[in-house]
C-alpha cells in the first residue's frame, strides 16, 4: 500500500491503472480535464493508450470499439459531455460491454466552471439504466473506479462514475496499491452481431437483458460495502446521503455534537432498496442529504409507502436545490430537525466589487472582441460559445446576446438569420469548439442558406480547460505528430464562399473584413489565428 496526497481526478487514474485499463479517451472539461492530461503523462510507461477525442461522442464511440475488441476502457468528460455522447450511451446499455468500461462524468454544482446549466448527471441512470457510482473524496475516487471496473466486468455493462467538483478537485490522503506492470494489450474484434448490433427485433430482447442485469446489480448493491451505515443505530432520526454531501453531514454532526445513524449510498443506481427499507424501520424522521435534484429523496418516499408510511421525510423542503451544499447549511438543517442550538456565523456587511474571469494579458482575443464590438452596426446580434471566448460575455466586453452549449453559436445564428434576414448576426467560437461540434452548425447554415458571420477565434489550442491538444494543432495528447486540420479548408469544402484567415493583431484588416463580410448574401467565416498568450509564454520558457 502506498499513501499519498492525490487530487480526486488523479485518484481515478490510480484506480483505473490498478484495474488494468488499456484504453483512455475523453474530451477536456472542468472539473474532469486532469484525468486525460495526467494519464497522458504516464501512459507510455504503463502501456495504456490515451487520446483526447474530438468530442465526448467520438470519445465514447472509440471506447465502445475498444471494449468490443477486448480492451478495458475509461472515458472522461464533464457533466455536459454526457449529453453529447448520450446518443451512443443508450444503445451501449443495450449491447452491454465486452471488456469493462467506466465512464467518468464530472458535475459542477454551483457552476464554478460551467456556463450552461447546473446539471445533475445522475439522472442519466434513469434514462439509460446504467449503474452510477457517486464518490465523496479521492480515496473513494480510487476505490469506486476499481469497483466500477469490477461491476462492469461482472455484469457486462458500462458503469458511470459521477464525480462533482468537490470530489474531483479535492486533495486528500489516499491509500492505494501501485498497479503492476502490464503488457501493452492488442485487442481483437471477434464478430458477434448478436451482441453488438441493436437492429430490431433483437433490440427489444436486449432491453429485456438489460433490465435483468439491473435486477442482478440491485441484489449486488445490497451487499457491497460502499453502501454502509454508521453512527448510533438506535436513534429515531436517521440520515441518508451520498457523494460529497456525506462529508458535509459528518462535519455538521461533529459540529453539533450529534450521533445519528447515517446511511451512505456509494451506488446511486440501482439503489439497495432492502437496505434502505431496513434503515427506515423504527425511525420517525429521515433527512435526505443530496445536492441538486432530490432523486434519492423521491426513491426513499416511494420505498417508505410500503415500509413505514408514517415516517417524515425531509430534504428538498429544508435544503436548497440550487448550488452545492456545505457543512453550515447542514448544521442549520440538523438544528431545525433535532432542536439543537446552532448560531449561524454572521458575515460582516461590506459590499465588495466582484472580480470575474478576464482575458489574460496579451490574449489575442483582446484584439478581436473590442474591434468587432466597435465597428459592428447598431443592433448586431452577437452569439458566444463555450471556452475562453465566453469571457466576452463579462465586463468589460459585455458582448454576447446569447450563449448556450459547445458549438451552438453558429447553429443559433442561422435560426436568427432565417427568422429575419435583415438582422445582422455575428457568432464567435474557439478552435477547439469548432472541431467539437461547431462544424455541424456551419454545415447546416450553408445547406439551409442563411448568412451569419462566423468568427473562429483560433488560438491554436483548447485553452480554457488547461491547454489540451485539438485537431487544429497537428499534435495528439501524446505529443505525436498528426494531420493538422485547417479550419479554412474545411469550411471551403463545406461550401463556405467567403473565408478570410488573418492575424487579429492587424485590427484594420479585421475591421475591413468584418465590414465586407457583413454585406454578403452567403455565410462568411473569418479565422482569427493567433496563439494563446499563455501558451506562447510557456513555449518561450522551454
Amino acid at each position: 500500500m502506498k499513501k499519498e496526497i492525490l487530487l480526486g481526478n488523479d485518484a481515478i487514474i490510480k484506480g483505473a491503472l490498478s484495474a488494468g485499463v488499456d484504453f483512455v479517451s475523453g474530451y477536456p472539461g472542468c472539473p474532469s480535464a486532469e484525468i486525460g492530461d495526467d494519464f497522458a503523462k504516464i501512459a507510455k510507461e504503463n502501456n495504456v493508450y490515451v487520446e483526447w477525442s474530438t468530442n465526448e461522442k467520438t470519445a465514447l464511440e472509440a471506447a465502445i470499439g475498444a471494449s468490443f475488441s477486448g480492451l478495458k476502457s475509461l472515458v472522461n468528460m464533464k457533466s455536459f459531455g454526457i449529453n453529447v455522447c448520450s446518443d451512443a450511451l443508450l444503445p451501449l446499455a443495450y449491447t452491454g460491454t465486452k471488456a469493462p468500461m467506466v465512464i467518468v462524468v464530472a458535475d459542477d454544482p454551483s457552476c464554478w466552471s460551467s456556463a450552461q446549466s447546473e446539471q445533475d448527471s445522475r439522472g442519466y441512470a434513469y434514462i439509460s439504466n446504467i449503474p452510477v457510482l457517486d464518490p465523496a473524496d479521492p480515496q473513494e475516487c480510487y476505490e469506486f473506479t476499481k469497483l466500477g471496473f469490477e461491476i462492469s466486468e461482472k455484469f457486462n455493462i458500462p458503469v458511470i462514475l459521477r464525480t462533482t467538483t468537490r470530489a474531483a478537485h479535492q486533495r486528500a490522503v489516499v491509500n492505494f496499491e501501485e498497479a503492476e506492470n502490464k503488457e501493452k494489450k492488442i485487442g481483437e474484434f471477434v464478430k458477434n452481431p448478436y451482441q453488438f448490433s441493436t437492429m430490431p427485433p433483437r433490440v427489444l430482447e436486449m432491453k429485456k437483458e438489460l433490465l435483468e442485469k439491473i435486477k442482478k446489480i440491485s441484489a449486488f448493491a445490497e451487499k457491497v460495502k460502499i453502501n454502509n451505515i454508521s453512527g448510533n443505530k438506535g436513534s429515531k432520526i436517521g440520515i441518508i446521503t451520498s457523494g460529497v454531501s456525506s462529508m458535509y453531514i459528518n462535519e455538521a454532526l461533529r459540529e453539533l455534537g450529534l450521533d445519528l445513524p447515517v446511511l451512505k449510498l456509494g451506488i446511486f443506481y440501482p439503489l439497495p432498496e432492502k437496505m434502505i427499507s431496513n434503515f427506515l424501520k423504527g425511525k420517525t424522521k429521515i433527512l435526505i442529504v443530496e445536492e441538486l435534484t432530490p432523486y434519492i429523496e423521491r426513491e426513499v418516499i416511494r420505498i417508505t409507502k410500503s415500509v413505514n408510511p408514517k415516517i417524515q421525510i425531509l430534504g428538498e423542503d429544508i435544503l436548497p436545490k440550487i448550488g452545492e451544499l456545505n457543512p453550515e447549511l447542514l448544521c442549520i438543517a440538523l438544528a431545525k430537525i433535532t432542536g439543537k442550538k446552532y448560531k449561524k456565523f454572521s458575515v460582516k456587511q461590506l459590499s465588495l466589487p466582484k472580480r470575474t474571469a478576464r482575458l489574460c494579458d496579451g490574449c489575442p482575443y483582446w484584439y478581436i472582441l473590442p474591434t468587432i464590438k466597435k465597428i459592428a452596426p447598431e443592433g448586431t446580434v452577437f452569439g458566444g460559445d463555450i471556452g475562453c471566448n465566453m469571457i466576452g460575455a463579462l465586463p468589460p466586453h459585455n458582448m454576447y446576446d446569447y450563449m448556450f452549449c459547445m458549438g451552438s453559436s453558429i447553429g443559433i445564428s442561422h435560426g436568427v438569420k432565417k427568422s429575419n434576414p435583415k438582422q445582422r448576426v455575428i457568432s464567435f467560437m474557439g478552435d477547439g469548439t469548432f472541431f467539437h461540434s461547431g462544424l455541424m452548425g456551419l454545415i447546416n447554415t450553408v445547406y439551409n442558406k442563411s448568412n451569419p458571420l462566423m468568427i473562429v477565434m483560433d488560438n491554436r489550442i483548447t485553452a480554457m480547460t488547461g491547454h489540451q491538444t485539438n485537431p487544429g494543432m497537428g499534435k495528439t495528447i501524446m505529443g505525436e505528430d498528426t494531420q493538422e486540420l485547417q479550419i479554412a479548408d474545411i469550411a471551403k469544402s463545406c461550401g463556405v464562399k467567403n473565408i478570410k484567415v488573418l492575424d487579429p493583431i492587424n485590427t484594420e484588416e479585421l475591421e475591413g473584413t468584418v465590414k465586407e463580410f457583413l454585406e454578403k448574401e452567403e455565410v462568411s467565416l473569418i479565422v482569427c489565428k493567433r496563439v494563446c498568450a499563455l501558451l506562447e509564454r510557456r513555449q518561450k520558457k522551454i
Partner: protein
C-alpha cells in the same frame, strides 16, 4: 505526531476529535494559489496529519477570484471551511484578503501579500487598506511580490515566500523541515532551488 490543539471548549461530546487547522489561501487566478496549496498539503502529510483541500480550476482560474481551503488535523471530514471557522488566511492579493476576511471570525489571522491586482470597478489600495485596518484580526501585510521581484527576479515564488514568513511567525503548526521536504517532493526540479531561496529569504528576514 503533532496535533493542532485549537479551541477545545467549542466541542462538547466525548467522541469529538481535536480541532482541525483551517487555512484559506486565496488570490487571483494565475498567481500560484494551487501550487501553494499543494505544497502545504504535502507539508501537513509529512507532519503526520490527515489533510483535505478543495480548489477550483477552469473559468474561475482565468483572472477571477480564487479561494481554496485546506484543513488538517487528526481527522478531517469536509474539505470546506465554513464562515467564521478559518484559523489563518493567506492572501496573494489585498482585495481577495478582504473578501475572505469579512467571512472570518475576529481570531482569524491574516497574512497578506502587499499587492493589488487592479480591474475595472475594483477598489484602490488605500481603500482596501482602510477596510482592512478596521478589522480586529491580527494582520501581517508583507511585500512578498516586490521582494521576490527585486531579489529573485521572479514574482511567482512570492507564494513560497509567504509560506516561509508564515512558518517563521508560527502562523501554521508546521515545521520548516517539513516544508523543505515538501518542496523537494512537489516542485519540479528546475524551480526547486528558486523556491527554497524564496522560502529562506522570508524565513531568515524576520
Amino acid at each position: 505526531m503533532l496535533y493542532w490543539k485549537g479551541d477545545k471548549k467549542k466541542y462538547k461530546t466525548k467522541n469529538i476529535m481535536d480541532k482541525t487547522f483551517n487555512l484559506i489561501i486565496n488570490g487571483v487566478g494565475g498567481q500560484g494559489v494551487i501550487t501553494l496549496l499543494s505544497l502545504i498539503c504535502e507539508s501537513a502529510l509529512i507532519e503526520g496529519y490527515d489533510v483535505r483541500s478543495s480548489e477550483l480550476h477552469g473559468l474561475s482560474q482565468r483572472g477571477g477570484s480564487v479561494e481554496t481551503h485546506i484543513k488538517f488535523g487528526k481527522k478531517v471530514y469536509s474539505p470546506l471551511i465554513s464562515n467564521g471557522e478559518s484559523d489563518l488566511i493567506i492572501s496573494l492579493e489585498m482585495l481577495e484578503a478582504l473578501r475572505s476576511a469579512i467571512r472570518s471570525g475576529n481570531t482569524t489571522k491574516i497574512l497578506i501579500n502587499d499587492f493589488v491586482s487592479v480591474f475595472q470597478g475594483g477598489l484602490g489600495k488605500e481603500e482596501i487598506k482602510k477596510h482592512l485596518s478596521e478589522l480586529k484580526n491580527e494582520q501581517y501585510i508583507v511585500s512578498a511580490s516586490d521582494v521576490c521581484k527585486e531579489k529573485l527576479q521572479n514574482e511567482v515564488v512570492s507564494t513560497t515566500y509567504l509560506l516561509g514568513y508564515a512558518i517563521n511567525k508560527n502562523l501554521i503548526p508546521i515545521k520548516k523541515e517539513s516544508v523543505l521536504s515538501a518542496i523537494e517532493k512537489t516542485i519540479p526540479e528546475k524551480y526547486r532551488e528558486l523556491n527554497i531561496k524564496a522560502f529562506n529569504l522570508a524565513y531568515a528576514s524576520n
